[in-house]
């Protein structure tokens, strides 16, 4: 069998077997008992040559409605932003994407410095003192934040607002079962966390309050009111944020957060059916040694020259095994690189500009819907909720929108029974005035 990735010729095999002292390749598997051997050909998909493979993959890809051919107003945590073209060129450098975790710092300075810069970017954006090298995604980062809060406060109760992304809450609950934490949810009023209920729910055993802002409905939570409620009880304030909103909205550091997490997908990462993305995780200086995952630090070499290394490894699984602060081993280095390149491209003014455009376009769009459609009056960023008239069904409206070339908004009835018939609409800087006007016209035609 000849294959373009396999260099072994018959002659190689003969010579190598002679060196090993084996008669055949089969001899090398003699230690596997016959009773557990697989005989025959596995019932798996068959092999395809390169031209056939490309044809096959095009055929599969063409059966998906992508955001180049369709105009998307769908967000709910994953957004259709413009991705500067340089990003793909940078992450296609195979010195980056074919490297392992930088265990050998002398030949990994590029990756280590890139991560150090990512940590710096996240600190700048969030206003926090320490950030790690990244997490799987925003949702698992939130679950890790709950675990950190429990460890730091020695408390077992996690209070989470129902305005946090439903999938993130579900993952927090799944992971809390493993750690024996109690998760208590707090309701919402007019699109934001019900502050009276929150105040009543926080007690002396509360490790942390988990809030998201802009929240799942796109509304901006009033952290200035929430922060004292949890800090008075000596618990931690964990904020999940959309990093792109921080070009416009106040930084969590200034607002008093102890832990800040989020998903870096809006920063130059393709939507890709929701993954891979990149979670970020930032904390106050006091929590530095409790942070999960990889961290890069600056140091010097034997000649006094600046260099970078993986550091604070005494927290990690390969040293601490069962006593580690987390079992996480990898990070999302290549996607953290996407986010870093994005922030390098956008720079100080670009981050403000893109954030502002998202806010403006979303507000313009919200104003185009028929009077009475917007469900909430709370301030919002680039996403808002509209109520469909009467008995209209979001699923059916979206099917009609799809036929007209639009990917419609998220059906909130999926997760919130009380919001049946409500659609979450996202408007990014990629949408033009004409697209917005066309979408609203089609929405009205479909819904009414």
């Amino acid at each position: 069998m000849k294959h373009r990735y396999l260099p072994m010729t018959e002659q190689d095999q003969t010579e190598m077997l002679a060196t090993v002292g084996a008669k055949s390749v089969e001899d090398l598997f003699a230690d596997i008992p016959a009773s557990v051997r697989y005989n025959g050909v596995l019932p798996m998909s068959g092999a395809l040559d390169e031209p056939s493979m490309l044809r096959h993959m095009h055929r599969l890809a063409d059966r998906n409605a992508d955001a180049d051919r369709f105009t998307s107003f769908l967000g709910a945590g994953i957004y259709d932003h413009h991705i500067p073209v340089v990003i793909n060129h940078v992450i296609s450098r195979s010195e980056f994407y074919t490297a392992y975790t930088p265990y050998q710092p002398e030949i990994s300075q590029g990756e280590l410095q890139a991560i150090f810069e990512f940590q710096s970017y996240i600190c700048e954006l969030t206003g926090m003192k320490v950030a790690n090298a990244s997490m799987y995604d925003g949702a698992t980062a939130l679950a890790e934040a709950a675990a950190l809060a429990s460890g730091a406060t020695k408390r077992k109760r996690i209070v989470v607002s129902r305005t946090v992304h439903p999938e993130a809450r579900e993952i927090v609950r799944t992971s809390a079962r493993g750690l024996n934490l109690e998760v208590v949810e707090v309701g919402f009023r007019d699109g934001v966390t019900d502050l009276d209920e929150l105040k009543k729910t926080i007690d002396d055993n509360t490790a942390a309050v988990l809030v998201q802002t802009p929240n799942f409905f796109g509304c901006i939570e009033d952290i200035r009111v929430i922060e004292p409620l949890i800090h008075e009880k000596k618990g931690l304030l964990v904020m999940s944020v959309n990093p792109l909103s921080l070009g416009l909205l106040e930084s969590p550091g200034v607002l008093g957060a102890d832990v800040v997490v989020g998903d870096a997908q809006p920063l130059g990462i393709p939507t890709s059916l929701g993954g891979p993305t990149c979670g970020f995780f930032a904390v106050t200086e006091a929590l530095m040694r409790r942070i999960p995952g990889r961290i890069v630090g600056q140091t010097v070499d034997r000649n006094g020259k600046r260099g970078f290394v993986l550091t604070l490894q005494a927290r990690e699984q390969h040293i601490r095994r069962e006593k580690a602060t987390s079992n996480i081993c990898s990070n999302q280095a290549l996607l953290a690189l996407c986010a870093s390149v994005y922030m390098s491209v956008m720079g100080k003014s670009g981050m403000q500009e893109v954030s502002l455009q998202n806010m403006r376009k979303a507000h313009y769009a919200a104003g185009r819907f028929p009077a009475g459609s917007p469900a909430f009056t709370a301030p919002f960023f680039n996403e808002f909720v509209v109520k469909l008239p009467g008995p209209a069904d979001v699923h059916k409206v979206n099917a009609m929108l799809l036929k007209a070339g639009y990917i419609g908004g998220y059906d909130l009835g999926t997760d919130y029974p009380e919001l049946k018939g409500h659609m979450l609409v996202a408007v990014t800087e990629r949408r033009t005035k004409d697209e917005i006007d066309g979408f609203v016209r089609e929405w009205e035609a479909s819904a009414i």
Partner: protein, 484 residues
């Protein structure tokens, strides 16, 4: 040596831009008119101000200070650093895969769902399992998911089992995953052949045993020949067997975890299925289970209707819930699917055969110069001990650093923990005999250097952009970002 490389922040010149946005064509709403002043940013983030050429030169220079598989041989044991095929990268970037949204209507992503459904089935066939979830984002994430499934299974039977057994040669993630899944870890010693000690296992199993976590072949590259007895001991006690799939590159099409008696398995697609490691991620760690654990799998999984359409199967009342937002690392799953279909089942078997022959060849050629703590045949990787060189004052770490001067990524060192001065080598199937011979000759030369001129080895590396770094100070006085 090269001069210090500037940070991107140090390249900033106020007034420069690298972005290009469409001019805003909607009314210029003032932020303060729709958002309370106190919620608006009081001070902008101090991001660098550079232009596009700066960005490209900066990251190109960083890439030149990095080492990937495309730069050279990367025999990092337990990491399966095989070639990352270029076609995988190309197809994952097709707009029909890269520009789709997880919440789109099912009818608008039928191609993606077909791919996931086929991959679920292919991985189930490969591992001998009944159903697979593609959600976990990495190996450790898969371990934790698998342990949560085991926990749910025991609880559904009204049993409270609190202990997870791991061998001392296991990956560090195994005990760490057990802890975060709420289990207590029991570590058992390996026997003199580097395998699970059946008596030690018998001594710790009992009515509190939730599972045994095992890698097979294990981290020493040895096949656990008594796997059937091991399975029997654990199953007789009511426990389950968890397969850490990190070493699956040795066994594809030759033996399957399901046939060995394992109940739960995770695969590292970024190892066995050639998806790039990306400098530390993203990866993917799908989990396969036997039928008795299927009801507990994370939801949704992908289903197929009789009419040939595909759907998200969310109606799974006993599910442990979600473990990852959306549906896992889809972009990685596309690459893995492409890889599997590039070979087909017979090709994958050849992959494992070549990987094992390569490892045995290297072990035999290096054996005269190092100690081989566990002689015999190895599987896809093997361990050496560098303890003989200690008499010259040279340690394994020094050998690793000296290898850098010859353009190699060093093997894994000091793991597993039960081998003194351990060197763990995994060549993979995509390396040629000439490449391995070149590396072996270099290792032999370094041994001779250690014997005759140890300082030469102790002061290595000489050719890298920095010399050995002060890791102790980095941990004691952490500087973790450029505003520290």
């Amino acid at each position: 040596m090269k001069p210090e490389k500037a940070l991107i922040f140090e390249l900033s010149h106020p007034g420069r831009v690298a972005y290009s946005l469409t001019e805003c064509d909607v009314p210029q709403i003032e932020p303060a008119s729709v958002i309370p002043e106190g919620m608006l940013r009081s001070k902008p983030a101090e991001l660098p101000e550079v232009y596009e050429v700066d960005v490209i030169r900066h990251y190109t220079e960083l890439s030149r200070r990095n080492f990937g598989i495309d730069n050279g041989f990367y025999p990092l044991g337990s990491c399966t650093m095989k070639y990352n095929p270029k076609i995988n990268e190309d197809v994952a970037r097709f707009p029909g895969f890269a520009k789709i949204h997880p919440y789109q209507p099912e009818e608008s992503i039928q191609g993606a769902l077909e791919l996931l459904y086929t991959l679920q089935n292919d991985l189930a066939a490969l591992t001998g399992m009944d159903q697979v979830t593609l959600q976990p984002a990495a190996g450790a994430h898969g371990e934790w998911t698998g342990l949560m499934l085991i926990r749910a299974y025991h609880e559904s039977r009204g049993e409270k089992r609190t202990k997870v057994i791991v061998p001392d040669s296991s990956h560090g993630t195994n005990p760490a995953s057990a802890t975060v899944a709420g289990f207590e870890t029991i570590t058992i010693p390996s026997n003199e052949r580097g395998l699970v000690d059946l008596n030690a296992l018998r001594a710790v199993v009992g009515s509190d045993t939730a599972a045994l976590m095992l890698t097979n072949p294990n981290t020493l590259g040895l096949f656990e020949q008594q796997i059937e007895q091991i399975a029997q001991i654990v199953h007789d006690a009511g426990g389950l067997l968890y397969y850490d799939g990190a070493n699956s590159n040795a066994i594809m099409g030759i033996t399957r975890p399901g046939d060995m008696g394992f109940d739960v398995v995770h695969l590292n697609l970024h190892k066995t299925m050639s998806t790039p490691h990306g400098g530390g991620g993203p990866g993917a760690g799908p989990v396969g289970v036997k039928s008795k654990l299927v009801p507990f799998l994370p939801k949704p999984i992908v289903g197929r209707r009789e009419d040939g359409t595909y759907f998200w199967d969310t109606d799974r009342p006993q599910s442990i819930g979600r473990v990852k937002a959306y549906y896992g690392n889809f972009g990685i799953l596309v690459r893995a699917y492409t890889y599997i279909r590039t070979y087909g089942p017979e090709g994958l078997r050849r992959v494992s055969e070549n990987a094992v022959l390569n490892a045995n060849y290297m072990m035999h050629r290096l054996a005269p110069y190092f100690e081989v703590p566990y002689p015999g045949v190895c599987k896809h990787e093997f361990v050496l001990s560098g303890k003989r060189l200690k008499t010259f004052g040279v340690r394994t770490l020094d050998v690793a650093k000296r290898l850098l001067d010859f353009g190699y990524h060093p093997p894994t060192v000091y793991f597993p923990l039960n081998v003194e001065e351990c060197i763990m080598i995994e060549p993979t199937e995509t390396e040629s005999k000439e490449t391995m011979d070149g590396f072996i000759d270099t290792m032999i030369q370094i041994v001779k250097e250690a014997e005759t001129d140890p300082q030469l080895v102790l002061n290595a590396p000489y050719t890298t952009v920095v010399n050995r770094l002060d890791e102790a100070t980095a941990a004691r006085k952490p500087v973790l970002n450029c505003s520290c």
